[in-house]
Amino acid sequence: MTHWKYKRLSISFMQYINQIARDAMLFLSCLAPVLYGLFIKFGIPVAEKFLTGYYSRKEVLVPYFLIFDLFLVVLTPMMFSFASSMVILGEIDDGITKYMSVTPLGRGGYLISRLILPLTFSFVVSIIVMNVFSLTINSFEIIIALSFLSSVLGFMTTMMVVSLSANKVEGMAITKMSGISMIGIILPFFVLTRIQYLAILLPSFWMAKFALEGKITYLILCVMVSAGWILLLLRKFMKKTM
């Protein structure tokens, strides 16, 4: 990539950062994982102590600590994905996306500056947050893998919102619906029979399976399923912004 391409991308990315910083969304996106991290690191063990005493059981929440970790790892990319979705939806409504596609930045550059770069940033934040606050995951390699998968999930969620909605209101409705795709995180913990495989099309399901069993096959499946969805949605987005 030439120097000029880098410059275009960095200008477009800085525009995005300025936009979300002005709306305090950047601050909120970084603050939310820290607040949630503090909650699980200090609040959950206290809750566990109280609940084990109350129900006179050896453990109540411990088997589900990994679920709290998984929500922690997806929180940062989801916040950035939400911020990106809202910025892109606003720009689609205002016609800016179409203008961008005929500038030297192009549609590809536009998507990189609004999606790939923010999610790369969130990937780094996720790694830091997981290292500090995770309850169960100590392996750095697993943290990197999960942070990568959660960034891919964030990418898919944003693509879902911006490809399937015609305007801000539809975008908000789809944002709400996209929350259901996160149900895959809890399924392997609660549905122990083969019925859980009804969720094979949810990347979050494979991410949870990977976190639970550590098999590389699940990591690959998560990437493949996400890639399938992303390609499908990307094609739709490209058609829409032509």
Binding site: Q19, I20, R22, D23, A24, M25, L28, F82, A83, M86, V87, L89, G90, D93, D94, N167, K168, V169, E170, G171, M172, A173, I174, K176, M177, I180
Partner: protein, 227 residues
């Protein structure tokens, strides 16, 4: 007649943009969750679900609704039409109240709430409360992210005390908080009903006045920054 047409228009708009579809799916999810819960949890869980979602949909969607109306210049048309500010607000409140109440009833019935009427009244007042809050915020923003970050503190103030109230911190003074009254009604409590409704009405009138002032300003500057 004008107000009926406005409400019909808003309902049609909400249907077209998928609100009814989204809430049909979410209602199915909520009902499924209620059925897998132990009987003793159901009533409280249903109250939290109704309070935090269908009743609070105004604070989630209003930013997008008003911003879309701004960018499509609907507000400019309304501003020069005979539609009054109060009618615009009422239309938004009633149209969202309709869907909130329908979803609320659908969740309440399987949860076996002891007093359906109180629950419906609570959901309706909750919906009106959050829609007015949403309108106040929406009239003062220029982007969706700005709406979200402005709405978050309101959501924290509106949601935390009611959840504390529902889980046992039920001091009488908590019932000055509109959210506590609403969640108490949604969970089927009809004790001191008229007093609680009188307090809620005072809150709604105060919010309406604030919303009216901001929406009127918005109409006067119709189009805002997106023009």
């Amino acid at each position: 007649m004008r107000i009926i047409n406005l409400i019909k228009g808003d309902i049609r708009f909400q249907f077209k943009y998928g609100f009814y579809f989204v809430y049909a799916v979410f209602t199915a999810v909520y009902i499924s969750l209620i059925f897998v819960m132990p009987q003793s949890w159901r009533e409280r869980a249903a109250a939290i679900m109704i309070f935090s979602d269908p009743a609070a949909m105004g604070i989630f969607f209003m930013g997008a609704i008003v911003l879309l109306e701004k960018s499509e210049r609907v507000l400019n048309s309304i501003a020069v039409s005979p539609v009054k500010t109060g009618e615009y607000i009422l239309s938004k409140v009633v149209s969202l109240l309709f869907i909130s109440v329908v979803v609320g009833i659908a969740i309440t019935l399987p949860a076996g709430t002891k007093n359906l009427y109180a629950s419906v009244i609570g959901t309706a007042f909750g919906s009106a409360f959050f829609t007015l809050c949403g309108l106040i915020v929406a009239a003062n923003i220029s982007s969706l992210n700005q709406f979200l970050t402005t709405a978050v503190p309101i959501e924290i103030i509106s949601f935390l005390p009611p959840i504390m109230y529902l889980f046992g911190y039920d001091n009488m003074f908590m019932l000055i908080h509109p959210g506590c009254i609403i969640i108490s009604l949604i969970s089927g409590n009809s004790k001191h009903l008229f007093l609680l409704l009188a307090i809620l009405c005072m809150w709604l009138v105060a919010l309406y006045k604030v919303a009216h002032k901001y929406i009127q300003n918005m109409f006067q500057n119709a189009g805002g920054v997106n023009l």
